[in-house]
């Protein structure tokens, strides 16, 4: 069995017959000097100007793309070096948004929750420059993560639309426009991030409808993934199988795969990008441990449909730990591929058979 959509990312010199695509969700720890550069840029007393800060971000994007290459990832990202927060970054680029100041999340953790005050509109592209820069900095395929419209709507104040669903659909049309531009620029792998779905799983139909807007007129062979994390998956599965995406990127290592069975019945018909390292543990799992985690994925889908990534963005980890997780993940992937080639892996897939008693 082959999987053309996934195999377009297979490296020409891939050593094994089997191919378990390795990638990341998106964010990566920023080098400390980049945060320092931002402080200097924001300090009106300092001569460190916009061009200097731009240069620092370029350097960081090149550095982290290269770090992903060194770790051996098949598909790389720039670690979202240019992005501050997943809603703010996009809200600043979309007409119709306004910022009024920080609001509390918990304790003294705040975020600049924006307000949608008029119809949202697409003006300049959000990510094409970022994509082109990263694609120029590497020979490997580049994935583009985009915060999904449902999350952009849910994590904003909505002053302008009838309800959050209407706002999400309007934003989805803008995401669609952006993806068209990204595809024109050469992008082949887009990931829509919808963490808000986990907190309001009953809204899965809204997310599905928004995705229909997103993929309209996007060529079939452009790979579209959906990332969801930290939720009760039984409340969105199997409904999400109807979504028009090629791949679901799911956090499962954090819960030690206690929700794995959810995806066994009915059959998982899309590609599964399985979280095989836990981003909330500040220590790189061993190669052997990650191999075991990869095999969990094979209980759900055949190797052709399996993709490997960390549970979620790794930006809160110490950088060397983040690197260790990537490198070990790639090594584990290659080991499991070799074992699959050799016929050494025999895993029963699908729903567990009820015990006889």
């Amino acid at each position: 069995m082959s999987n053309e959509n996934k195999d377009q990312f297979r490296p020409e010199d891939h050593a094994n017959d089997h191919f378990l695509l390795t990638t990341v969700v998106g964010s990566y720890p920023k080098p400390k000097w980049l945060n320092r550069a931002k402080e200097l840029y924001e300090d009106p007393e300092h001569g460190f100007d916009e061009d200097d800060y731009q240069e620092a971000k370029d350097d960081a994007a090149r550095l982290i793309t290269n770090e992903h290459e060194r770790a051996g990832l098949d598909v790389v990202v720039d670690g979202e070096m240019r992005r501050n927060e997943m809603v703010e970054f996009f809200a600043h680029r979309i007409e119709g948004y306004e910022f009024n100041g920080p609001v509390k999340v918990w304790g003294h953790n705040y975020f600049d929750k924006p307000s949608v005050v008029s119809d949202v509109e697409y003006t300049d592209s959000w990510l094409v420059d970022e994509y082109k820069f990263t694609a120029d900095a590497t020979d490997r395929p580049v994935k583009v993560p985009i915060t999904g419209p449902y999350t952009l709507a849910s994590w904003s104040f909505n002053e302008a639309y009838e309800d959050d669903a209407e706002l999400a659909y309007a934003l989805a049309d803008l995401v669609n426009e952006e993806i068209e531009k990204l595809v024109d620029a050469g992008a082949r792998y887009i990931q829509i991030d919808e963490p808000a779905l986990a907190t309001t799983p009953d809204d899965h139909a809204i997310v599905g409808e928004a995705l229909e807007h997103i993929v309209e007129d996007i060529p079939e062979d452009v790979r579209i993934g959906l990332h969801v994390c930290y939720g009760d998956y039984s409340r969105i599965y199997p409904e999400i199988l109807e979504f028009p995406v090629d791949e679901f990127d799911l956090e499962l290592a954090n819960g030690d795969y206690d929700q794995l069975d959810v995806f066994k019945d009915p059959e998982f018909t899309a590609d599964l990008a399985l979280g095989v390292t836990d981003v909330h543990v500040a220590e790189a799992e061993s190669v052997e441990q990650i191999e075991e985690n990869i095999k969990k994925g094979l209980e759900v889908v055949p190797p052709e449909q399996l993709v490997l990534s960390p549970d979620c963005g790794v930006k809160l980890l110490p950088r060397e730990v983040a690197y260790g997780k990537m490198a070990n993940m790639v090594e584990a992937a290659r080991n499991v591929e070799a074992d699959l080639d050799a016929g050494n892996i025999d895993i029963e897939r699908g729903a567990p058979t009820p015990a006889d008693d």
């Binding site: 009024n100 100041g101 509390k104 999340v105 918990w106 304790g107 003294h108 002053e159």
Partner: protein, 347 residues
């Protein structure tokens, strides 16, 4: 439920008083967000303990003064302390209590907000933490003071019990605990008991009656007018009917979240002599017009032709800490103006 319909027996011809107020739990001024996160930190063990140091106390005092000025300047008819120290929102009175251990971070109702899970591990005793805040507030304003507390049902719902072992007993203990806290209060004009859990995790048969009894116990601990404010929807019929049995002066109605069911409850079961109308959205940056809010008051009163309330409290439906500080200030000003407009019209 013997009180049903009794409360329609309102004196005819009395004039309704319109009182602008809030359910408290304000956002910190932006400078205080910065200063306090530097002073306290960002992690869960950095949150308020009830014995904070000198600098932290001073920052909160300055911030309190500021939000009291905001209320005075807006012309609100009731002044609250602002509950700026309540890192754990409505769970605060337990989170700072000696009999309670705070554990992991848990979701605050259906919001993108979190608080520390308070686990009651010992016999609860009032600490005077809220009373001290009110004393400090009394020194800062000449306005009429309003105290704010979680209602007993919501506080029990937000907490975990490892001491009392039985839901009914735990709820009664929380009721007694809150009554003792209220007992230590300075003189206040009004007491708001916030009860979102009555909507969000509605009590079942039997539990609804006990919730009403626990509220009654807290209400009897004060001479102030007591307003019980549920929000994020309307109460289930039976829950509402039982609530009317408690010795309280007003029930609150969240008309932002649900109009029909709230009206139905009032029409079907009657109401307390006074009412609190949540008409400004505490979770939206869209600032309502004062006239629009006044019109909504008229609309509610028109729907209830037989009823004339003694006092109508005009308030946001929820706490306001969800808002950026500038929008919070604007909401308060609008409420004060709307109450003035309603008074003028009534006169």
């Amino acid at each position: 439920m013997e009180n049903i319909k009794r409360r329609y027996s309102l004196a005819v011809g009395t004039m309704t008083e319109y009182v602008s107020t809030t359910p408290g739990l304000f956002p910190l001024p932006d400078w205080a967000k910065d200063d306090l996160s530097d002073l306290k930190g960002h992690q869960k063990h950095d949150l308020i303990s009830g014995d904070e140091g000198e600098e932290t106390t001073a920052a909160y005092e300055t911030a309190r003064e500021e939000v009291i000025d905001v209320q005075d300047d807006a012309g609100l008819d009731r002044i609250v302390e602002g509950q700026l120290r309540w890192d754990d929102m409505l769970a605060h009175p337990l989170a700072v209590n000696d009999a309670v251990e705070t554990r992991g971070i848990v979701r605050y109702y259906d919001n993108n907000n979190f608080y520390r899970e308070p686990v009651v591990q010992d016999e609860l005793e009032a600490s005077g933490d809220v009373a001290a805040e009110l004393e400090a507030t009394a020194d800062l304003t000449d306005g009429d003071l309003q105290a704010v507390l979680p209602g007993p049902y919501s506080l029990a719902d937000l907490a975990t019990d490892e001491q009392y072992g039985d839901d009914a007993e735990f709820l009664a203990a929380i009721g007694e605990f809150l009554a003792d806290e209220v007992d230590a209060f300075p003189d206040v004009e009004t007491l708001f008991l916030l009860e979102p859990s009555l909507v969000e995790s509605a009590p079942e048969d039997g539990e609804d009656e006990r919730a009403s009894e626990a509220i009654d116990q807290v209400a009897r601990a004060t001479d102030a007018d007591v307003v019980v404010q549920p929000y994020w929807g309307a109460l289930e019929e039976k829950v509402y009917a039982h609530l009317l049995d408690a010795d309280i002066d007003a029930v609150g109605f969240d008309f932002v979240a649900n109009q029909d069911d709230n009206l139905y409850n009032i029409q079907e079961y009657g109401a307390t002599d006074s009412a609190s109308l949540g008409l400004a959205d505490g979770q939206s940056t869209l600032v309502e017009d004062a006239e629009a809010i006044r019109d909504r008051v008229d609309w509610v009163e028109d729907q209830l032709q037989v009823t004339e309330f003694e006092t109508v409290y005009l308030t946001t439906n929820t706490e306001t800490f969800y808002l950026p500080y500038n929008k919070f200030e604007e909401k308060l000003a609008v409420l004060a103006e709307a109450a003035e407009l309603a008074e003028v019209k009534a006169a």
